[in-house]
């Protein structure tokens, strides 16, 4: 395959294999003569020029070959499908055994609660690296009922868990549309433009204040950034598991955000102490001393409380709006009676 590709014109290669275009442009082959067969260009180019690019002739051919194989593999590789992720207990910080046999399925929303240092991050890290008794906790993680084969475990880069947290920010100096387009292209989705529009529309539905594709990423407000991160993770990330860390104050519609992720069959783990968010989950893992001390199913009574809490939240949001528009708070909305 590689020989056939090398005999094509430079422009034609770039057209057929967009991921090679950047490399060819970097070599300067494009500027010399876009129509010339690449193999001919490579044979004729002066050694000094290749040396400046930091490559030898044979390394250029090997690089193009490796790149083609890699891209073909990406295009043909099916996205990882996870029906069940099982976490088997290890031991707590004192070495006592942890009783845990947790099964996570697509669409599950599970909250992690526990004081700082209790071991929430350890649990998430164990899932992320598909621990096999070889992390400090001694936990085992099974994928679809079996230990993952080392090829998946050490596949690079592993894309099991996508993260959205309060401490993350966008640092790249691009507009929202240009950057999401770049992300969509590297995910090799079929209709990039439509997907980018969808991501931005989704993010705008989650955040209070709308932004446009032209808005610079670095100028988004905290709420807008979080909303865009969640919409992008739901619609463009390949990761089947999404970890959300402390987004309670981010100023986005939490229920809608979760609905969006669940609709995409993600397993959602939320590290939170926000009652509204915690009760939106189906289960809560109580983490103490480095181990899961209890798994609490959200009860019917809790769901009733959730409805009342949502009303309180709405009320508070209304008060915030009033402040934002220069109003006074001299009367309160009707708070729901305790259920």
């Amino acid at each position: 395959m590689i020989d056939r590709v090398l005999d094509l014109g430079v422009a034609e290669i770039a057209g057929r294999h967009p991921s090679l275009a950047g490399f060819l442009a970097g070599l300067g082959a494009w500027d010399d003569d876009p129509e010339q067969p690449f193999a001919g260009w490579l044979a004729a180019v002066e050694d000094a020029r290749l040396f400046d690019m930091g490559m030898e002739r044979a390394q250029v051919t090997a690089h193009v070959g490796a790149l083609l194989r890699q891209v073909t593999q990406w295009q043909n590789a099916p996205a990882p499908v996870i029906h069940a992720l099982c976490v088997r207990g290890g031991r707590d910080k004192a070495g006592r055994p942890e009783t845990l046999d947790l099964i996570l399925r697509p669409g599950d929303v599970v909250c992690l609660v526990g004081p700082t240092g209790a071991g929430k991050s350890r649990l998430l890290a164990d899932i992320e690296c598909l621990a096999q008794g070889d992390t400090p906790s001694g936990r085992h993680v099974l994928v679809n009922g079996a230990p993952p084969d080392p090829a998946l475990r050490f596949a690079s880069p592993r894309t099991l868990i996508a993260q959205v947290s309060q401490t993350m920010s966008f640092v790249v100096d691009l507009g929202v549309g240009a950057f999401i387009t770049m992300h969509a292209e590297c995910r090799m989705v079929p209709d990039v433009e439509a997907r980018v529009r969808e991501v931005i529309a989704c993010a705008n539905a989650l955040a209070g204040e709308p932004f446009t594709p032209e808005t610079a990423l670095t100028q988004l407000s905290g709420g807008q950034s979080r909303a865009l991160m969640i919409a992008d993770t739901a619609l463009l990330s390949a990761s089947p598991v999404v970890l959300i860390d402390e987004i309670e104050n981010a100023g986005i519609d939490r229920q809608k955000a979760l609905d969006l992720l669940v609709a995409r069959d993600k397993i959602v783990l939320i590290s939170t102490h926000d009652p509204l968010l915690a009760l939106l989950g189906g289960r809560r893992l109580v983490i103490q001393q480095g181990a899961v001390a209890a798994v609490i199913e959200t009860s019917e009574r809790e769901r009733t409380c959730l409805a009342a809490l949502a009303q309180v939240d709405q009320g508070l949001m209304g008060l915030r709006e009033r402040l934002r528009h220069g109003g006074r708070i001299e009367a309160l909305p009707a708070w729901p009676a305790p259920p």
Binding site: S19, G22, F23, G26, F51, M53, G54, M55, E56, Q59, H63, A66, L67, R69, Q70, S121, A125, E128, C129, D134, T135, F154, S156, P157, R158, T159, A162, Q163, V164, S165, T167, M168, S169, F170, V171, V172, D173, F179, I180, M182, H183, C186, R187, S225, M229, D232, T233, L236, S237, A238, S239
Partner: protein
């Protein structure tokens, strides 16, 4: 003894990556030593000692740090063998993105920083392109989307390497890098071993102490930029 060469631009977190990985490699008995190359000054040897890792630090001073590295790596290997290490991790100074300390047959690791921008992988030369493992640090403070685009660009720049994310603060990723380090080939001597890519030539008067600006002081390997009037502007 297995040798691992770690390179990367300044301030990407090479030392944290090494300390965390050494802790995993040392579990259950194996001895890990560190060889630290730097340019003008380094405090990293105290960091390594504090982590209980035997270390020798070398400063290149007025010499090109990467040339200094090649001139000393074989002696470093002999030192490590004499100390009875099971793993020797050599950290290079990594100053200009053009140089690459990777040797044929020796596990080469390149550390890059997700904060440095999604286009950076393309701009780093043979140091990244010819590495066996590329470690991406500081991914925990950029958005998931940027992490994914960054990793994708790393894989376009080096389709052969294993790519992994590493959190230098929590040590997340150390198990993965240790997995690759255990697969490194045992080394007896580096005598006659080849660099994967030659280092830039440095034979102009400024390499050997010239300090004056001006055409008459530019001799030897000199290359001049061309300055054209931008289109649409009159001279």
């Amino acid at each position: 003894m297995r040798l691992i060469i770690v390179a990367g631009p300044p301030s990407v977190g090479k030392t944290s990556v090494i300390v965390r990985t050494a802790a995993v490699l040392g579990q259950g008995g194996p001895r890990v030593g560190v060889l630290k190359f730097d340019a003008l000054a380094t405090d990293d040897d105290t960091v390594y000692r504090a982590a209980g890792l035997p270390v020798v630090a070398g400063l290149s001073g007025s010499l090109c740090p990467d040339h200094f590295f090649v001139s000393n790596i074989d002696d470093g290997l002999a030192w490590g063998k004499g100390q009875g290490f099971d793993f020797l991790i050599a950290e290079s100074a990594g100053l200009c993105n053009r140089c690459s300390p990777h040797l044929h047959g020796v596990l080469g690791v390149c550390v890059v920083d997700a904060l440095s921008g999604v286009h950076t992988p393309r701009k780093i030369g043979p140091m990244l392109r010819l590495a066996d493992v590329v470690v991406i640090t500081k991914g925990d403070i950029v958005s998931q989307a940027e992490r994914e685009v960054f990793a994708y660009n790393v894989r376009l720049a080096n389709p052969r390497a294993a790519v992994l994310f590493f959190n230098g603060i929590t040590g997340q990723g150390a198990g993965d890098l240790a997995f690759h380090a255990r697969l490194a080939q045992p080394q007896d001597s580096l005598e006659g071993r080849r660099l994967r890519f030659s280092m830039p030539s440095a034979v102009c008067p400024y390499c050997v102490g010239e300090t004056t600006v001006g055409r008459e002081h530019q001799r030897g390997a000199v290359r001049k930029m061309s300055f054209e009037t931008p289109a649409g502007e009159s001279a």
